[in-house]
Symmetry: C2
Subunit: 205 residues, 2 copies
């Protein structure tokens, strides 16, 4: 799945380009970047054209332009705001995850239906599910982490999409589909463990 590793590859291009800039390079060709990453020049050009990174095959790419464009796509100069929907065991762990700040990811609000979980004064407020459309609009939220029970995951996802959410990181063990401009990434931790066990049992045979 080529899009799954995209941010990893783009980050590597950026790192290489920053090194080249510090060495005084003004231009670079896809072959140089391909060598540095250990990929084919064709993949580099494919990535660059996919992301609209400007350059000419003959004259090469301007290092400074590429860095600026990659910075924009990688969003390194902006806080990336997310909401967490379903503030139970795993939702709460994610809301308090310190590792997000380093990636400039900030959880701006949690949402739940259980009145016991609602807390408007928490450092990261937890609001009622009904407030999603208002918050998504007023805070321009595009990405939501979905950590509700699987019995309600599909309908809550629909609520999110109707409210304007464009990207969902889904932890419920159901296959949530995106479509219509909405990207869904499914994380199935039980399946990852099953896979590990499966590979170990095979290794025994």
């Amino acid at each position: 799945n080529a899009t799954k590793e995209v941010v990893v590859r783009l980050t590597k291009y950026k790192n290489v380009l920053e090194k080249l800039r510090s060495l005084g390079f003004v231009k670079v060709f896809s072959d140089n970047l391909a060598d540095a990453l250990g990929v084919s020049p064709a993949l580099v050009r494919k990535d660059f054209s996919f992301f609209g990174l400007s350059g000419k095959k003959r004259a090469g790419y301007r290092v400074e332009d590429l860095i600026a464009q990659l910075n924009h796509i990688l969003g390194v100069d902006e806080i990336q705001r997310v909401i967490v929907v379903g503030c139970g065991k795993i939702g709460t762990a994610l809301m308090r995850y310190r590792g997000f700040a380093r990636e400039k990811i900030r959880v701006v609000s949690g949402f739940d239906v259980d009145p016991a979980k609602i807390d408007a004064n928490a450092p990261v407020p937890i609001r009622d599910l009904n407030e999603i459309p208002y918050i998504v609009k007023s805070e321009s939220i595009r990405v939501a982490i979905l950590t509700v029970p699987e019995t309600v995951a599909t309908q809550v996802a629909e609520t999110l999409i109707a409210a304007g959410i464009k990207g969902i990181l889904n932890f419920a063990p159901i296959l949530l589909k995106g479509g219509n401009g909405v990207v869904v990434q499914n994380i199935n931790i039980a399946l990852e463990l099953e896979n590990l066990f499966c590979l170990l049992r095979f290794a025994d045979k």
Copy 2:
């Protein structure tokens, strides 16, 4: 990564074979299974030979034998025991995850270095890190979930491997390598979110 989806494919083969068995099939050919799964017969034969599933290309595979062998590989008739190392925010969420039971996965113990977290009488006991070698040996544990801070993840992984752990599901945002018969699966939630944001920003351009 072919091994990542292995358990998904093997489970599909099993489901198809159980349906065929209920229809009275005694034998099946790779082409039948290939059609049912929408994959090539070559992939089916490659999977089956990789997993040592017996059969002859001409005579076909015996449905009952395949089901029994797949059951064994998928471990459906056995409880799969895991330990959780690092019982903080995300470790605790995983220790209490109800969804594991359905996959016959059971967390038999947690481990931590913080005395405040140690609790031998909890429903799932949390023990001191020093007790890992003893528990891994006495309970024949082969898989560990690693949810310690990234600053100690590499050394704790070494402790686990030295104790006999063969599979690690790693949540720390460092690239942990396996090797020497140890399988490591890395889950990087911040990176998955970064990827989502990246794809959305691209979709805007």
